[in-house]
């Protein structure tokens, strides 16, 4: 991956001035590259990884992974139906997969009832959806390469030769 992207993927808040120092490029050229990535849609968004289990004010929320089997539509394949599904705001992620089912969705809602309602009345009701299997998430350990649990500081000497 491009070095600037690698750095941004680790820390979205890092300033172009710092990236310039890390990569040995000029600030202007770093800014230009980032702008181009943003314009081309390579950089979609700058976001924060949050461990929602620790967010206190959240009254309740539920996450589920849903396997969806579909009948592909003539000429447009899976993309057409996938778009109809991922356009629902409840759908946080959507992947097309090889294997025994076609789409994998990550759904977020306030309650089990809400997720159940979405599956029953929205998803299963679509003419091209042949079947769904819903798995409720119990705990998230790692997201995008980041372990969510805060790790203890490792014991290392303060100074050594």
């Amino acid at each position: 991956m491009n070095e600037i992207l690698e750095i941004l993927a680790q820390d979205a808040r890092i300033r172009p001035e710092e990236i310039a120092k890390l990569t040995g490029q000029s600030v202007a050229s770093v800014k230009k590259v980032i702008e181009k990535f943003e314009k081309d849609g390579v950089i979609v968004k700058y976001k924060t990884v949050i461990n929602k289990d620790l967010v206190k004010e959240e009254t309740s929320f539920v996450r589920a992974l849903i396997e969806v089997s579909m009948t592909p539509k003539k000429d447009v394949g899976f993309d057409y139906i996938a778009e109809r599904i991922y356009s629902f705001p409840e759908v946080k992620s959507c992947y097309l997969l090889s294997g025994s089912y076609d789409l994998l969705l990550e759904i977020e809602g306030n309650s089990v009832q809400m997720v159940a309602g979405f599956v029953a009345s929205k998803l299963s009701a679509m003419p091209d959806v042949r079947g769904t299997v819903t798995h409720f998430l119990l705990k998230k350990y790692k997201e995008d390469g980041h372990v969510l649990k805060k790790r203890k500081q490792k014991q290392k000497l303060n100074i050594s030769y």
């Binding site: 120092k21 890390l22 990569t23 040995g24 100074i159 050594s160």
Partner: protein
């Protein structure tokens, strides 16, 4: 009660007190650490744990596990084209430190001299003295990029000069040698019939050019004791695992001492080492990429704030000059620690010629480095 005269005469480290001070302090930012800030790759740790569960808790052969020696020989061949025999040209040691001690004890007769470029790692002079030899320090300076020249070696050689002890990339200066520079050194080494002890433990952390082992140069294999280990490349300092590859006769002599004094390196570490060589290179490359960025960042920040700093070619140290602040390196380090809670290592620890410099380790997180650079800048401005 008397202790050995030789030990009594060993020069104590002048910065022991400073080290103790730093070791006992909390909430400081330390740029004084001589080990990677990464943890040993999980694959390697997992293998070590599993081996203990499986009951691998015994001695191994003196030379080290055959599988590890085979892996090392294979690795050296693939990486550098080196051809060593795993049976009689390779010995597994407890870190490079043991390998170094064995090497000098195996080759030196009383009074024989060993040339050592300075600034250098703290133990070099001491192990030579303990082995009955005489360390001759060859001073290198910032204007030569802290590199030893062939001319210096030639000039320093007398009839009882036995060996050259070289370390590149270098702790503490980060200096390293290109193939061409090494060829120059090799020429005079052959001319003067020296043995070379080459500590290449930072080889994987070479940034601006390919690392060349001295033993890979023509006519050098039969006079180089190549030392390497797992500490820096695989972040395995606590495993204490290294090896020596060299001429069969010398390796046999080293093995003789090793079998009486150490017996063998810990089996858990050896098994971990096999796994590191099998799967570790991708982790190594990730680490290296990260270090390269931090190196650029630190060098550029230090120069910006007026601490003259050359661009080191390897390891994870920078070695800026503090001469224009009219302070000894120890005073500078003490003062910075007291006023800004930033720890670094005074240059004088690495030899008299390193006075006027400090060693900054960038094996620390980017956030730490950023904050430390900010504090050093504030300290210099006051």
């Amino acid at each position: 009660m008397d202790i050995s005269k030789k030990v009594e005469q060993l020069k104590p480290s002048g910065i022991r007190v400073f080290f103790d001070l730093v070791l006992n302090m909390k909430d400081i930012i330390s740029l004084g650490v001589g080990e990677p800030d990464f943890v040993t790759p999980w694959r390697v740790r997992e293998k070590a744990i599993f081996s203990i569960e499986q009951g691998y808790t015994s001695y191994t052969s003196n030379k080290g596990m055959a599988d590890l020696r085979k892996s090392i020989v294979y690795f050296l061949n693939k990486r550098y084209g080196l051809k060593y025999d795993f049976e009689d040209e390779t010995l597994i040691t407890v870190g490079v430190s043991e390998g170094l001690d064995l090497a000098v004890r195996a080759i030196l007769n009383p009074g024989e001299k060993v040339l050592i470029p300075e600034p250098c790692y703290v133990s070099y002079g001491a192990v030579v003295e303990l082995a009955g030899g005489k360390p001759i320090f060859l001073k290198t300076s910032v204007k030569d990029g802290f590199k030893l020249t062939a001319k210096q070696i030639e000039k320093a050689c007398t009839k009882d000069t036995k060996a050259l002890l070289i370390n590149y990339p270098c702790n503490p200066t980060g200096a390293s040698y290109t193939k061409k520079e090494l060829q120059g050194i090799a020429r005079v080494v052959k001319k003067k019939n020296l043995i070379v002890i080459s500590d290449e433990v930072y080889d994987e952390l070479t940034y601006d050019f390919q690392h060349t082992p001295l033993s890979s140069l023509q006519g050098m294999k039969n006079r180089v004791i190549y030392l390497n280990g797992f500490s820096k490349a695989y972040a395995m300092t606590g495993f204490r695992l290294g090896w020596a590859s060299g001429p069969a006769k010398i390796i046999a002599a080293m093995t003789k001492i090793h079998q009486y004094t150490i017996l063998c390196a810990p089996i858990t570490s050896q098994i971990a080492g096999i796994e590191a060589l099998r799967s570790g290179l991708s982790d190594v490359l990730e680490m290296k990429k990260e270090y390269m960025r931090r190196r650029r960042f630190v060098v550029s920040r230090l120069n910006e704030m007026g601490l003259d700093c050359h661009m080191p070619q390897g390891a994870f140290y920078v070695f800026p000059s503090i001469k224009r602040f009219n302070k000894s390196s120890l005073d500078f380090a003490n003062d910075l620690l007291k006023k800004k809670s930033v720890a670094l290592v005074p240059g004088v620890a690495f030899g008299d010629s390193a006075e006027g410099h400090v060693r900054i380790s960038y094996a620390s997180s980017y956030e730490n480095l950023k904050e430390a650079m900010f504090r050093i800048e504030q300290y210099l401005r006051k």
